[in-house]
Amino acid sequence: MKRSQGFAVIAALVATGMPAAPARADYRQDAARSACSDRIRSQYDASTRNVSASERGYDRFSVTGEARRGSETASFTCRTDRGSVQSVSVGSWRRGGSDAGKTAAAVGIAVGLAAIIAAASSKRRNDDYDRYGRRDYDRGDNGYYNNDSYSPTGGIICYRAQRSCFDDYHNYNARWTQREFDY
């Protein structure tokens, strides 16, 4: 696979031992998390935990986490712009739950694991493929690409067992999935 140019930049940075992200970004993230925690504290008299921030543009962050007030917890989403809180949204308060932490963890993991699976396939076939994949590929049975499928329109293939639809380039298609399987 031809590497993307950005990919090459990152590769060069890693190869030279330089940090991939500038320290300033960490500082801005910390400021965003802190601003949102302060707002939750003052507006809802609640502490925060599992707070994570994702960048939405230059010095703009979406901050998610869990607010705790006595024995109640609720998820919150907060948006900041240059360190100032723009909006705060708090979900329903639940007694003793930790759903928000779970959601925040899922999103955090998502960012942390971004690209690993698909990018791993951009390397040459690895040991896992050699051990487990060759037979399946050779016989054309590799998961979604089985015979329990149909095409509701050109360029879209839907798989009944997984209740999912994909396009010709193996991209998940949410609209056709919704249309065919009514999620």
Binding site: V9, T103, A110, A118, Q162, Y172
Partner: protein
């Protein structure tokens, strides 16, 4: 496009694939645009890996729901104007988890919870990586999905419309 998210993902990749650090000299930050047959094949292989990873834990139908959550998370990560609704996402996670954990031992429940987080995260990464060449197209599709699908059937956050003037 949330460049830092992509950069963070690519950086994570470099940690697990040091061999690919030996690439051509950098000339910019713009990723290549468009699908190629080679990229298509790589995505096919990535999908197969994803399925092999999840199949020991989840049924086909449940894997479909994990992909569903992954797609929305991936689109929200790449598109500045789209966000995941944490309440909807929590509901989707809890629904799937509840199916598997009813009557299970504490150890099994912990195993399932950890795998659910991991697999939704990996599915999200798969979506992000699969669209790194066509982010505008993904975002356009995601916006269209948000516009066409009823709000209780998608996982995007919907900003309430301003109240009508009396």
């Amino acid at each position: 496009m949330k460049r830092m998210t992509i950069l963070a993902g690519l950086s994570a990749l470099m940690l697990v694939a040091p061999a690919v650090a030996q690439v051509a000299a950098p000339s910019g930050l713009t990723p290549p645009v468009g699908e190629t047959p080679e990229f298509k094949q790589q995505k096919r292989e990535a999908a197969a890996k994803l399925l092999k990873l999840m199949r020991p834990v989840w049924t086909d139908e449940q894997i479909g729901r994990i992909m569903y959550m992954g797609w929305y998370s991936g689109a929200a990560a790449l598109c500045d104007d789209l966000e995941i609704d944490p309440v909807k996402m929590t509901k989707a996670l809890n629904s799937l988890e509840a199916e598997k954990t009813a009557g299970a031992s504490p150890e099994k429940i912990q195993f399932l919870e950890r795998n659910l987080m991991l697999h939704v995260g990996i599915a999200t990464g798969w979506v992000i990586a699969g669209h790194v060449r066509d982010v505008p197209k993904l975002c356009a599709e995601a916006r269209q999905t948000k516009a066409e699908v009823p709000a209780d059937r998608h996982l995007f956050e919907v900003t309430p419309a301003p109240a009508a003037k009396p």
